[in-house]
Symmetry: C2
Subunit: 229 residues, 2 copies
DNA sequence: ACCTGAACACCGTTCAAGT
DNA sequence: ACCTGAACACCGTTCAAGT
């Protein structure tokens, strides 16, 4: 939409002068995804963003997968690791919330991370740090192993919810109420829930952050109890 | 690979005689995805599967999204709903395991479900049944609401793990041991875990089903405790 | 009524050729 | 050494045309 063939000379020369590099390509790819979502990240558009033809990217990356692996790495590296001074539970909780901040800045990231086949160095480094926290907190290897599985992708700060009831799904409170009334016969229990979780309902509007922390704490409490055994 | 232009006359006429219908298209789409993964499901291949050009599909579906919504519906409908006679915890546990059986038969389904923007009738029906179980088991609306969020996509029987340490990721025990040794310096805590979770290690090979049920039970226990409050 | 041919606007990727 | 032009094999989708 905003695309144009006209580029000022300074921009064009500045971009063509700086040679392509992995870092420059990955930064451009992250920017592109941040602005237009992951579907905006095509080899052709990425090339255009860098003032270069798409084919030039293949000099630095074997294929698009390598670029996707690369941008996951870039943003996971943004997560600051815990210094390990606090109690394991406080520490891990803080760590996950920190990771969540980063993911909220890059809404495309969870899906890309889950779709990636291989685990890159940044995630390994992150998980290694989490394992250090658990082991340091007295977890057996077995329980630590379970812990990482129970937390699943939540460990990186995102929750794969079945529906987004906060953002788009409930554009108008009025529309939601209408939907709820229409559902009432077919899905009475969901209708009850929808009404309660609507803006005026008893529960108030559903807050993703609150739900995320509720789930995280429930799991951490469960792990604490097992650790004590 | 197995594709061919030669079709026996009986097959060809049988397929062209039966007119296209939503059901026939969706069944073919599910079969295609079951056999070749979700990337094998293109409009062109789907048409070919049905002995028809891709464009003919647009008579029955507005676009490909509608087909994806459709196949999710088809397989979620395969999940048998609980009759609600047991205790809530037994009931819900059984329900989730039942859903998991279905998902394991359609390995492409979790990703497609999570990528879908809207929640279709089959999932609504499923969630309505889960809500019935929770409410019948004495859960307040608020706690039931939390419960559905904590369970997340696990409620449908799948766990979005960060890595598949069971299938492809560990092709050879020997290779895994080598990798572990190579990681030892950089990621000592992960190396320790990898060794323990390898075939010969203390934990034995990692079993996805075991981990799934461990996580499910931890969450159900946590919910039970909160319910008692 | 139901399907097709031809076309459009996109993809990722390869490779010989240009500077 | 680094990038491009042209091409290939795919996508989803539209629309006038065929039967």
């Amino acid at each position: 939409v905003a695309g144009t063939d006209v580029v000022t000379e300074t921009e064009a020369s500045a971009e063509s002068r700086t040679p392509l590099s992995r870092e420059r390509v990955l930064q451009a790819a992250v920017d592109l995804a941040d602005r237009g979502g992951i579907e905006a990240l095509s080899m052709r558009k990425l090339g255009q963003e860098l003032g270069v033809e798409a084919m030039a990217l293949y000099r630095h990356f074997r294929d698009k997968n390598e670029i996707l692996d690369g941008i996951v790495n870039v943003i996971v590296k943004e997560i600051e690791l815990s210094d390990g001074t606090a109690d394991w539970k406080v520490d891990l909780r803080r760590q996950v919330i920190t990771a969540r901040q980063v993911m909220l800045r890059h809404p495309w990231a969870p899906r890309v991370i889950e779709d990636r086949a291989t685990v890159g160095p940044a995630i390994l480094r992150y998980l290694n740090s989490v394992m250090a926290t658990l082991r340091g907190g007295g977890f057996s290897i077995g329980l630590a192993h379970h812990a990482i599985h129970v937390l699943g992708s939540r460990i990186l700060g995102f929750n794969q919810d079945l529906f987004d009831d906060s953002d788009d799904a409930t554009p108008e409170p009025e529309a939601a109420a209408n939907l709820a009334r229409a559902m009432a016969e077919q899905y009475p229990h969901l209708a009850e829930l929808a009404i309660a979780a609507s803006h005026d309902g008893r529960l108030g509007p559903c807050d993703d952050d609150v739900e995320f922390e509720f789930g995280l704490d429930l799991i951490l409490d469960g792990l604490e109890r097992l650790r004590a055994t």
